[in-house]
């Protein structure tokens, strides 16, 4: 039999197309062609992609799509039911719910994207440094990682954001300070494995400078999969940001943010349940879309599911 692991499964005689690209820490520049093909066949992943693109479009064209000013208060119209000028009704200050939801896409996507960039900016240099240099640098960085991992992530973020004071910026800062550790670990592991590959040895044998080896040979092999996969962690970041906003730590009034809107609507649960239903549905749809695409991409990159990046 060709494979010793599955002594029985009869497909062994068939050239299995699923065993080619992108295993844990393998050398692959971004998405290999076969992975893209696999992704293209994954209907759920494509659905996720379509939803994400639609949400991005809504965020970009928010001023044209929103029927009303999202922050204009109209106390005479407070808690209005869905109707003519306000398609989904109004909130406790008479602001248009639909417009606030539409502008909310901007806040959610932007904060999550910014936090993600910050996370990458911290974790990529530190992870690479730890993996490449080894020795004391490695153990120092990894000790910091270990200590940060000793806290439940969400609680540390909550406490940091709480101490810094309410505000979206502080929430993003707190999440970045907590979230980078997982990536640093993964990047370090990948750098460690790529470092031992022949082409790095060859470059070193040719007398390439250390920095050249890192930037030209190691980083390209490590980064693209990490960034691709991390982008898909957006769903989790959006959940975390809206959760902190729900507690009152994130977006401050009058910024339209879905988590904050849920918090504002809480007292009116009985009289105006639509204030609860729609922002929650928005969060769920966006997160679901990112999860769908993320799962699809993960399967496509790694058909056997040995690589897992998660916090």
């Amino acid at each position: 039999m060709s494979s010793s692991k599955n002594s029985g499964v009869g497909v062994a005689g068939y050239p299995a197309p699923v065993e080619s690209a992108g295993q844990a820490g393998t050398v692959s520049h971004g998405l290999p062609g076969s992975a893209l093909t696999r992704l293209g066949q994954d209907k759920l992943a494509l659905l996720g992609l379509v939803i994400i693109l639609a949400v991005v479009a809504v965020a970009v064209f928010a001023p044209y799509l929103a029927p009303n000013d999202p922050v204009k208060v109209d106390l005479a119209q407070r808690l209005a039911p869905p109707g003519a000028p306000y398609p989904l009704g109004t909130d406790h200050l008479g602001r248009c719910l639909l417009s606030r939801l539409i502008y909310g896409t901007r806040v959610s996507l932007a904060t999550a994207a910014l936090a993600l960039s910050a996370i990458m900016l911290i974790s990529i240099p530190l992870g690479t440094l730890a993996g490449y240099c080894g020795g004391r640098v490695d153990s120092l960085i990894m000790r910091v990682v270990d200590v940060l991992l000793a806290f439940p992530g969400l609680i540390l973020a909550l406490v940091i954001a709480g101490t810094l004071g309410p505000g979206l910026l502080n929430v993003m800062l707190a999440l970045s300070l907590v979230w980078w550790v997982g990536y640093a670990r993964v990047i370090r592991g990948m750098v460690l494995s790529v470092k031992e590959k022949e082409f790095v040895m060859a470059a070193r044998a040719c007398g390439t400078r250390e920095l050249g080896i890192i930037t030209r040979h190691i980083l390209p092999n490590v980064l693209s999969p990490v960034i691709v996969l991390a982008t898909l962690d957006m769903g989790k970041l959006i959940l975390a940001i809206s959760g902190l906003s729900f507690l009152g730590l994130g977006a401050q009034p009058p910024t339209p943010e879905w988590g904050g809107m849920l918090n504002d609507g809480r007292p009116y649960l009985q009289v105006a349940p639509q204030l609860m239903v729609y922002p929650g549905l928005c969060i769920m749809t966006v997160v679901l879309a990112f999860n769908l695409l993320g799962d699809g991409l993960r399967d496509a990159l790694d058909p056997r599911g040995s690589t897992r990046i998660s916090l």
Partner: protein
């Protein structure tokens, strides 16, 4: 010893329905094994030997499916009996030894547990009695210190010991038929010889039939009474081992025998070409593209297995020019 067949496989077909198409892993295979005798099932990797073994015990899982055929044992067709009865046949009447003894044993259960459960799931005996019989079995297989072995986990054993445990487990209930799927491929040559000798001894002791699946023609020559050559999911030649080795009839069997190194022969001739994709099997003889003796008749329909000598059958149009 009588030559009455104890296991009879007729027209067995097992297909795998993948999203790339239907893979015909076993495609109308037929063979018989006589009681107390050994049948060698040989062929290249991926020709359907293992799937045949699994199909006999109905261990094929989706996307695979046994599409047609009969497997007769003890007067009943294993492919038709209800699951309850099938469970009682498995292990008791017919047992299986897999290629890789490491993955065949459950890593988180002790040897003792895995052996004893085999016995007490078929017989109404106490756990202590089952364990006692398990110890005895290990002892019979020449394993040192069986009492202690019972308490060990698979990862604490060497490959040879694990495979002996597997054999012990398969023989625990004195089955009439043992199917051994490349039982020694994963082992060292010396250990391989020991295990095979052990199997031979136990076969004589218990009088069971063995289906030995292998790609090692040397093992076939040493161990088996009959041989069935498999190609692309079909049996292309079947007969007594001496007969088949001395007078191979099918071009594939001849090519296979030429590819084996032998003392006193200089050249090695590998079988030319690639085995066919099981995904798009042709309607004609599957060996045609690689066959050196092919003629016009070979483009017709697939040849049937026909008797060409006493107990010797082959499936090739060239052998029966008058029939094609």
């Amino acid at each position: 010893m009588s030559w009455a067949p104890v296991l009879k496989v007729k027209n067995l077909s097992t297909y795998f329905y993948t999203r790339y198409g239907v893979i015909k892993a076993v495609n109308g295979a037929s063979f018989t094994v006589a009681a107390g005798k050994t049948l060698g099932l040989v062929g290249e990797s991926g020709c359907g030997k293992s799937v045949t073994a699994l199909s006999i015990l109905r261990l094929i899982e989706p996307p695979g499916r046994i599409c047609s055929g009969e497997v007769w044992l003890n007067g009943c067709d294993l492919l038709k009996i209800p699951p309850r009865q099938l469970r009682q046949v498995r292990g008791r009447e017919i047992a299986l030894v897999f290629q890789d003894p490491l993955t065949s044993l459950n890593p988180v259960l002790t040897i003792g547990t895995q052996l004893a459960e085999t016995i007490d799931s078929h017989e109404e005996i106490s756990r202590a009695e089952a364990r006692r019989r398990a110890v005895e079995l290990l002892f019979r297989l020449g394993l040192p210190d069986p009492e202690r072995l019972m308490r060990l986990y698979p990862f604490q054993l060497s490959g040879g010991m694990r495979q002996r445990v597997m054999v012990a487990m398969a023989l625990a209930l004195r089955p009439k038929v043992l199917i051994a799927d490349e039982p020694t491929t994963a082992l060292d040559v010396t250990v391989q010889a020991q295990i095979l000798a052990e199997l031979k001894r136990l076969q004589e002791e218990l009088g069971m039939a063995i289906v030995l699946i292998t790609h090692d023609l040397g093992v076939v020559a040493a161990m088996t009474d009959e041989v069935a050559v498999m190609y692309a999911g079909t049996i292309v030649e079947h007969g007594p081992v001496a007969e088949v080795f001395d007078r191979p009839a099918h071009p594939y069997t001849r090519a296979l025998l030429r590819s084996v190194p032998r003392l006193g022969r200089e050249e090695l001739a590998p079988v030319e070409g690639q085995p066919p994709s099981l995904l798009n099997l042709p309607a004609h003889c599957a060996f045609l593209p690689r066959c050196l003796q092919a003629g016009a008749a070979c483009r017709g329909e697939k040849p049937e297995l026909r008797e060409i000598g006493p107990g010797h059958a082959a499936a090739c149009h060239r052998l029966f020019p008058w029939a094609g």
